[in-house]
């Protein structure tokens, strides 16, 4: 049987390019990171709930366990991730609000701001950890 001349040429049809095709501009990185940090912070809300519940259990009610886990290497890694995620989502969120008002769409400016937001978020997380590590936290007791 001869080939059907009306067979759809599905295999050769061009497809819309996706993440794996594009060269990654920094603005694409910030967009994806905003979404990823948002998802991470949603899961991270469990840490906040755990912290508050541990406090509410009163003296010897699990708060010391929470604090000991938070000070363990894995705990500090998780908390650093949460701190950086919150800092990043905070700074890039402000940029999103500015975009919604119509500011900051210039290509060069958006690229420059993307680099600033990455740098600022890491710097903030590092400064917060430095404050806590050097014992300058805990001023609310």
């Amino acid at each position: 049987m001869a080939e059907n001349p009306q067979a759809p040429a599905q295999a050769t049809r061009p497809l819309s390019p996706h993440l794996t095709i594009y060269r990654w501009p920094v603005t694409m990185m910030t967009s994806i990171t905003h979404r990823a940090t948002g998802m991470a912070l949603t899961v991270g809300a469990l840490i906040l709930a755990w912290w508050l519940v541990a406090i509410s259990n009163g003296l010897d009610g699990g708060y010391q366990t929470f604090m000991a886990l938070a000070a363990s290497p894995l705990g500090m890694l998780v908390l650093f991730g949460a701190t950086w995620s919150l800092a990043y989502h905070f700074f890039n969120g402000i940029r999103h609000l500015a975009w919604d008002l119509g500011y900051g769409f210039d290509k060069k400016l958006a690229e420059r701001n993307s680099v600033i937001i990455f740098a600022l978020s890491f710097l903030s997380a590092l400064i917060i950890f430095a404050i806590v590590w050097t014992g300058h936290g805990g001023y609310l007791q």
């Binding site: 979404r35 948002g38 998802m39 912070l41 949603t42 809300a45 469990l46 906040l48 709930a49 508050l52 519940v53 406090i55 509410s56 009163g58 003296l59 010897d60 009610g61 708060y63 010391q64 604090m67 919150l86 905070f90 969120g93 402000i94 999103h96 609000l97 919604d100 917060i128 404050i131 806590v132 014992g135 936290g137 805990g138 001023y139 609310l140 007791q141």
Partner: protein, 126 residues
Amino acid sequence: MKSLQTPLHRVKGLGSSHSGTGHFWRERITAAALVPLSLWFGYVAIGLSGTTTSAPLQFFAQPVNAILMASFVVISLYHAALGVQVVIDDYIHSPGMKIFLFLMVRLFVIATGSACLIALLRISVF
């Protein structure tokens, strides 16, 4: 030809999307509210780091602090549910799975939020 839409459906003017700009707007309103609340939360989290139990107990026993923390919890979880909904909308295409995941996200934020609020009530009221 006479439209098959009900008069209510037509007057709402939302078509097959079922919703308008409400979701977008709520995401922005909660984001704006979270700008000062997140700064306050950071101040509190650092301020209570490395303390014994009595420090956070006394801190959240103050009504102002309990109310601010409750606001941060509720608004951030609401914002989270709205945000995760967009991610599900983007990547899940089967309507049944989409609705199931929406319900799971809401269950998660309501359960997590309730735990936080009950904890704050236990500290500040009882």
